[in-house]
């Protein structure tokens, strides 16, 4: 092991230090000065983000720690995504969290630790490292989901997530133990070399177990049952982070494990057939069940299930174009979803309600919030000229190029369905009366987050080239 190995994991070390620093500072700060944690956390993460972007373009890439850890552009792309999502979550939730009792000040430290877990997941070259990263992320989320003080629904969501998450981890570990038994290795490269080209029942079983464990994190149908209840019960900023970053981290792992490690063996034969069905089901169920929802967090939960289906289409394509589509879409999904959740957080804490009917007349009461929500949901629905259109175009054209046309048609039809429920939110905001509801002007960091996500969503929709090129170089660093 050489010292450059440690240079390669600078972002991870910095995030770990920041998390521990936040724990200490939250203890030392006097009651009133707790707001100082927000700038400390945001500027710390911004610095790490800047370094990661530099590393993406100019860093020296290669496996480190005796092949236990990948330092490549694919991992860096996901790290940029996690850090961006975290910064947006922290900025949009400042007032929401400010209302909590003082001993809950460790929220920021927990959030930062979750980022560390995601980073380890995205870079791991070994199933053991991957599993520890996954648990670091998931256990932090168990705590964060049940974090709302004096709220039974939040505690209930926390317990549910704990029980279901623990069972899914057990299934995942069982799958990993099968793979170890078959190959004698937990390193991804060793597994890839050892697995024979023939398809045997244990390989199918291991593939299915791994997929079940990861599918839970992605909220792939039929492993999606937990999502609506937990998204609704959790504090809104946590829901946003769970929907965006945790899902992206699981996708990073799916792409690494399935596309790279199991490429020549089971994936092509069973994996694709299985994933095609699951992706189609995910898109259909997510979009259809979203239609009757009355609560904005539940609506966004089902929408995020559907979005996982679209992303899965890119994984099925199994090509540079497909992975590029996933990376591109995951990044713009961060901005679109964070915009929607920033508005949901703000309106939720101002009005004390997450029901869609309480968004009535939001266009008059808070024009900026209504405009940002509209831009975000239209981007999620894939309406041009917003970024979501370009993302879906990349995903579906990649899968059509590989010959799976019908799954792309399912995606098109379901995108059309999704326009209906997304627009019903817009209709309530612009045509609803809401005469008895208060005016809620947006200001401060939340205003910045909303404007920033809206502008980025519009900008990438009009000029997707820079992000697309980053996604291509990240995808080629992976699929050789």
């Amino acid at each position: 092991m050489v010292s450059t190995d440690f240079l390669a994991i600078t972002p991870e070390i910095a995030v770990a230090v920041l998390a521990l620093l936040l724990v200490a500072v939250a203890l030392l700060l006097p009651q009133g000065a707790r707001k100082g944690l927000v700038p400390l956390n945001v500027f710390g993460l911004l610095g790490i983000l800047a370094y990661t972007v530099y590393d993406f373009f100019f860093g020296k890439m290669g496996p480190v720690f005796r092949g236990m850890y990948y330092h490549d552009q694919f991992a860096d792309f996901f790290k940029i995504l996690f850090l961006t999502a975290a910064i947006l979550v922290i900025l949009s939730s400042r007032e929401y969290i400010g209302k909590w009792p003082a001993y809950r000040g460790n929220f920021y430290a927990l959030l930062t630790a979750a980022i560390l877990g995601m980073m380890i997941m995205a870079s791991s070259a070994d199933l053991l490292t991957f599993y520890v990263g996954l648990e670091l992320m998931t256990i932090t989320f168990y705590i964060l989901v049940g974090y709302l003080p004096h709220d039974g629904r939040s505690s209930e969501a926390g317990i549910k997530y704990l029980v279901l998450g623990a069972s899914s981890s057990a299934i995942l570990l069982y799958g990993i133990s099968f793979i170890y038994g078959l190959t004698g290795s937990t390193q991804l490269s060793g597994i890839g070399a050892q697995l024979g080209s023939s398809l045997t029942p244990p390989i199918i079983l291991a593939t299915v177990f791994l997929l079940a464990g990861l599918g839970f994190k992605i909220s792939l149908v039929p492993f999606h049952m937990w999502a609506p209840d937990i998204y609704e019960g959790a504090p809104t900023p946590v829901t946003a982070f769970l929907a965006v970053a945790s899902k992206a981290a699981a996708f990073a792992a799916v792409i690494r494990i399935y596309l790279v490690t199991l490429e020549h063996q089971s994936f092509v034969q069973t994996g694709v057939a299985l994933l095609l069905i699951l992706a189609a089901l995910t898109m259909i169920v997510g979009n259809l069940v979203a239609i009757p929802q009355k609560n904005i967090k539940r609506l966004l939960a089902f929408s995020s299930i559907a979005q996982a289906g679209y992303l899965m289409v890119g994984v099925i394509a199994e090509s540079v174009a497909g992975v590029k589509g996933v990376l591109f879409y995951a990044m713009i999904y961060v901005f679109a979803n964070m915009g929607a959740f920033a508005v949901a957080t703000y309106v939720g804490q101002a009005q004390g309600s997450d029901e869609i009917r309480d968004y009535a007349g939001l266009a008059r009461r808070s024009p900026l919030a209504a405009a940002v929500m509209t831009a975000s949901v239209l981007s999620l629905a894939g309406i041009p000229p917003l970024a979501g259109f370009v993302g879906k175009f990349y995903l579906f054209s990649a899968v059509i190029h590989q010959g799976y046309t019908w799954i792309a048609y399912v995606g098109f039809v379901m995108s059309m369905v999704s326009v209906y429920y997304y627009l019903s939110v817009v209709k309530v905001m612009y045509l609803g009366e809401g005469a008895d509801l208060p005016d809620i002007p947006v200001h401060g960091a939340a205003k910045f987050t909303m404007v920033f996500t809206m502008l980025i969503t519009l900008f990438i929709g009009l000029y997707p080239t820079p992000l697309a090129q980053m996604a291509i170089s990240a995808a080629t660093s992976l699929v050789k």
Binding site: G117, Y147, P149, T200
Partner: protein, 167 residues
Amino acid sequence: MSTVVFFIFAILAVASAWGVVTSKNIVHSAFFLALTFVGVAALYVLLNADFIAAVQILVYTGAVSIMVVFAVMLTLRGDVRESSEENRKWGWGLFTAGLLFVVIALVILTNTDWRILAGPWTVQNTAASLSKLLLTSYMIPFEASAILLTIALIGAVILAKGVKEDK
């Protein structure tokens, strides 16, 4: 000889696992759980993994089971003899579990391609070789688990504190 010992402890582990699930008194369940852990620890010894066996006894038997008993005693209201209620819908559960067991057992038993070491693993000082691995190749998962435990501890304190202040 070692086959006989294996079966003694394997049967002990499985039988006490059965006891964990069926016992109506949750404290009895916790003690059965400790017995299961001892059985598994003995299996580790048979695999020459003496360090893991010691950790298994120290952490699982010594700490985890006792922690369960403490948690039960501190939180339980009502009669301890009926603290672990039976689930009425066991029929479907039995069916699903049985089916899954048969499928997995068939797959495992029919596969001939498991990577089995040619000879038994005979490193004498497993603690020393483990510690070397933990601080070289497996440094990242090792350090990440340290942060994981810290965070879990902080989270437990925060959540428990909230409950206390509610009252």
